[in-house]
C-alpha cells in the first residue's frame, strides 16, 4: 500500500517534470512566450503572417484569419490555400471577434492588427487564454532598443512559429532553402556596384517609406542596393521629398496595392513631381512594383529580393 503510494507520487513527479520540459518557450519582443502544449486553435492577422502559417501547412489548426480582404486583393493561390478558414474581421479585429473564435494563439504585430493601448493587445487577450505571438519586425514600436533589420526577421519568425506549432523541421527546411536562394542571388550580383534605392508606399504629400528597422531595408541590401532612407530611426515612417531627392536614388521600389494601375500610378506621380522627376531613377524609369506581402516579413520576401536584384542588375542574371 505504502509502496504503491510512493510509486504513484514518484511517477506523478516524473510525469510533471516531463511535461514541464515539454513546455515550448520562444522569444517574443524580448520576453518569453511559453506554451505548455502545442496550440490547436490559431488566428492569424494580415496576409504576410498568414503566408507564414500556410508555408508550414497549419491550415487545419487555423480557426480564423483577420485583416485580409479589407485591404488587399488576394491571389487565387492564396484563396486556395485558405480554403474554408473564415475571416473574422476584414481589417483590425475587435476583442469580441477574437474571443468568439476560441483561439489559444493569435499571431499579429504592433500596427499589424494591434495598436499600443488598444482593445486588442497581448495583455487584453491573455485573460481569455489567448497567447499572442508578436511579429518581430513590429517589436520596435514598443522598444526602440532593437537590432537593425536583417533577413533574420523572416527566418527567426518562421522558426519560432515552427517551434510552437510542432513543425520545426519544416520551418528549418524552408529557412535553409531560402538561405541557399539568397546566397545564389548574392553570388550572381557579385561585385556589381550597390545602387541607391528608394522605397515608396504611394503618392503622398510626404513620402511614407521604410527605415532601418523594417524588412525592406534588409531586402534591398540583399538584392545589391542600399536604401537611401536607411538612416531613419523607425520601421516605417515619413520623410521629406527634399531629403529623398537630394539622395538622388537610382532605383525605386514601389508598393503595389493593386488599386487603379497599381505601382504605375505611383511612378506617374513621381514623374510629375517637380523635384523627384529630376532624380536618376525617375529619369531612367528604373523601378519595380511589389505587393504588400512581398515587402512585409513573410515567405514572399525571398522571391521579391530576386525580382529586385534582377531589375536592378539585369546584366548579371
Amino acid at each position: 500500500m505504502k509502496h504503491s503510494q510512493l510509486f504513484a507520487s514518484v511517477f506523478a513527479l516524473a510525469f510533471s517534470t516531463a511535461s514541464l520540459a515539454d513546455a515550448i518557450s520562444v522569444d517574443n519582443c524580448g520576453e518569453q512566450l511559453v506554451f505548455d502544449k502545442i496550440p490547436e486553435r490559431i488566428v492569424v492577422h494580415d496576409i504576410n503572417m498568414t503566408d507564414m502559417a500556410f508555408a508550414l501547412g497549419l491550415q487545419d489548426k487555423m480557426v480564423g484569419v483577420t485583416g485580409i480582404t479589407g485591404w488587399y486583393k488576394t491571389s487565387a493561390e492564396f484563396d486556395t490555400l485558405r480554403g474554408e478558414i473564415p475571416e473574422l474581421a476584414p481589417k483590425y479585429p475587435s476583442i469580441e471577434n477574437l474571443v468568439a473564435a476560441k483561439p489559444d494563439m493569435f499571431v499579429a504585430g504592433w500596427y499589424y492588427g494591434m495598436k499600443p493601448g488598444g482593445d486588442v493587445t497581448p495583455d487584453t487577450l491573455s485573460p481569455f487564454g489567448i497567447k499572442t505571438l508578436v511579429l518581430t519586425e513590429s517589436c520596435v514600436h514598443l522598444n526602440k532598443d532593437r537590432p537593425e533589420a536583417s533577413m533574420n526577421l523572416l527566418f527567426d519568425d518562421m522558426l519560432r512559429l515552427g517551434k510552437i506549432t510542432g513543425t520545426e523541421d519544416k520551418a528549418q527546411a524552408l529557412v535553409a532553402d531560402w538561405q541557399r536562394d539568397l546566397a545564389e542571388i548574392t553570388a550572381k550580383v557579385g561585385d556589381a556596384k550597390a545602387q541607391r534605392v528608394f522605397l515608396l508606399d504611394g503618392p503622398a504629400d510626404k513620402p511614407f517609406t521604410s527605415g532601418k528597422f523594417a524588412i525592406p531595408d534588409a531586402m534591398i541590401q540583399a538584392a545589391g542596393g542600399t536604401s537611401v532612407t536607411h538612416d531613419m530611426d523607425t520601421s516605417w515612417g515619413r520623410t521629406s521629398w527634399e531629403a529623398v531627392a537630394a539622395s538622388n536614388p537610382e532605383f525605386l521600389v514601389l508598393l503595389d496595392y493593386q488599386t487603379g494601375n497599381g505601382a504605375q500610378d505611383t511612378f506617374n506621380f513621381l514623374q510629375e513631381h517637380v523635384t523627384m522627376s529630376k532624380t536618376d531613377a525617375v529619369k531612367n524609369a528604373r523601378w519595380i512594383g511589389l505587393r504588400y506581402e512581398e515587402l512585409t516579413p513573410g515567405p514572399a520576401n525571398i522571391a521579391a529580393i530576386a525580382k529586385i536584384a534582377k531589375a536592378m542588375h539585369p546584366e548579371r542574371f
Binding site: 474581421a89 500596427y111 488598444g118 495583455d123 485573460p127 514600436h141
Partner: protein
C-alpha cells in the same frame, strides 16, 4: 407630475437599450445563449460547469461595456450641465479645459517615448495625468486673473487645448509616425477597454460628480440668477465655480483615461434635459444623467453594429448626432 413620468419612460428605455446592447455586438450570439449566459452567471452553482466562450463575451466584455456606457454617459451629461451653468455658456462642455488634448498628449508620450513602464495601466494613467495637467493649467491661468469670469475660462481652455495638440503632433512626427493611428482612439473614443477590473475607476468618476451635483443643486440654481443675486443669497460664487471646475475636470479625466474623448455628449445632453424638465438643477441633473446614459448606450450600439464585424470609434457616432442636433438647435424656432 411630468418628471416622474419622464423618469419612468427614460428608465424603461434605458433597460431596453442595455439589454439590446448586451445581446448585440460584433459577433452574433443567439438570444437564447445570451439569456443563458446571464442566468448561468446569476446561478453561481452552474457557472463553472457550463460557462463557455460565449458566456465570457456576454459577461466579461459586453456587460461591463454597457455599464461603462451608462456611467460615462451619465457622468458627461451631469458635467455638461454644471459647466454650462458655471460659465453661462451654451457651448461649454466637459472638454473645455483642454482635457482631451492633454489626455492625448499623455497617451502619445507613452506610445512614442516611454513605452508601457507600468504595464496595462500605463496608458490610462498617462492619459489621466495629461488631462489633469491641462485642466490645472487652465484653472491656474484663470486663478491668476483673479476672477472666474466665464469668457476668460473659455479662452484659457482653448489656448491650452491648442498647446497640447501641438505637443501631441510634435511627438508623433518626432517619434513613431504610426502612433497617429493610436491617437485616433484618444480623439474619438471607444469603450473597447471596458472590463470588470477597471469599472471601479469609472464608478468613482461618476460618483464624484453625481454626489457633488446633487448635494449642491440649490447653489447652482442661485448661480443662474446672476453673480450678484447669488452672492446676496449667501452663495460664494467664485468658490462654487472653482469646485465645479475641479469636480468636472476630475471626472472627465477619469472617463477619458478609459474611454478616450467622447465628444458632444456633455454639450447636447444638458440642452435636451433643460427642454424636458426646466432649468432647476435637482431635476435637471437627474434627467441629464439619464439622457446621457441613454445616448451613450445607443451610440455604442450603433458604433458596434453599423460596420460589423469592425467597430466604429464611438466619437464618430456621437459627433454625427451632435452636429445634427446643433443644426436643429440653430434652425429650430424653439429656444432651448
Amino acid at each position: 407630475m411630468r418628471v416622474p413620468a419622464l423618469l419612468a419612460g427614460g428608465i424603461t428605455l434605458l433597460i431596453a437599450l442595455v439589454l439590446a446592447s448586451i445581446a448585440v455586438g460584433s459577433v452574433t450570439i443567439p438570444l437564447a445563449d445570451v439569456t443563458g449566459a446571464l442566468s448561468r452567471a446569476l446561478d453561481t452553482a452552474a457557472a463553472s460547469s457550463e460557462a463557455g466562450v460565449m458566456d465570457s463575451i456576454v459577461m466579461d466584455l459586453r456587460l461591463p461595456r454597457t455599464l461603462f456606457a451608462c456611467l460615462i454617459g451619465a457622468g458627461l451629461g451631469i458635467t455638461g450641465v454644471l459647466l454650462q451653468t458655471a460659465t453661462r455658456n451654451d457651448l461649454a462642455d466637459p472638454f473645455l479645459f483642454g482635457l482631451s488634448s492633454g489626455a492625448a498628449t499623455g497617451a502619445v508620450l507613452v506610445i512614442t517615448v516611454t513605452g508601457d513602464l507600468l504595464g496595462i495601466w500605463t496608458l490610462p494613467l498617462a492619459a489621466f495625468v495629461g488631462g489633469m495637467i491641462a485642466a490645472v493649467i487652465v484653472l491656474a491661468l484663470v486663478g491668476r486673473l483673479g476672477s472666474t469670469a466665464p469668457e476668460k475660462l473659455v479662452l484659457a481652455g482653448l489656448a491650452v487645448s491648442f498647446l497640447f495638440s501641438a505637443l501631441t503632433h510634435f511627438l508623433i512626427f518626432a517619434g513613431d509616425h504610426r502612433a497617429a493611428h493610436s491617437v485616433v482612439f484618444w480623439m474619438l473614443g471607444g469603450l473597447g477597454l471596458a472590463r470588470w477590473s477597471n469599472i471601479l475607476l469609472v464608478l468613482a468618476g461618476f460618483a464624484a460628480i453625481f454626489a457633488f451635483a446633487i448635494t449642491n443643486h440649490r447653489k447652482f440654481d442661485a448661480l443662474l440668477s446672476g453673480d450678484t443675486t447669488a452672492a446676496s443669497l449667501g452663495v460664494s460664487v467664485d468658490r462654487t465655480r472653482r469646485q465645479i471646475f475641479l469636480f468636472a475636470a476630475f471626472s472627465t479625466a477619469v472617463f477619458v483615461s478609459i474611454a478616450g474623448v467622447i465628444g458632444f455628449v456633455g454639450l447636447m445632453v444638458p440642452h435636451i434635459a433643460r427642454a424636458l424638465v426646466g432649468v432647476l438643477h435637482k431635476h435637471l441633473i437627474i434627467m441629464a444623467a439619464l439622457i446621457g446614459a441613454l445616448l451613450l448606450t445607443a451610440s455604442d450600439l450603433v458604433a458596434r453594429v453599423v460596420l460589423s464585424p469592425q467597430e466604429l470609434p464611438i466619437g464618430v457616432v456621437t459627433t454625427a448626432l451632435g452636429t445634427v442636433f446643433v443644426f436643429a438647435m440653430l434652425l429650430g424656432a424653439k429656444r432651448w
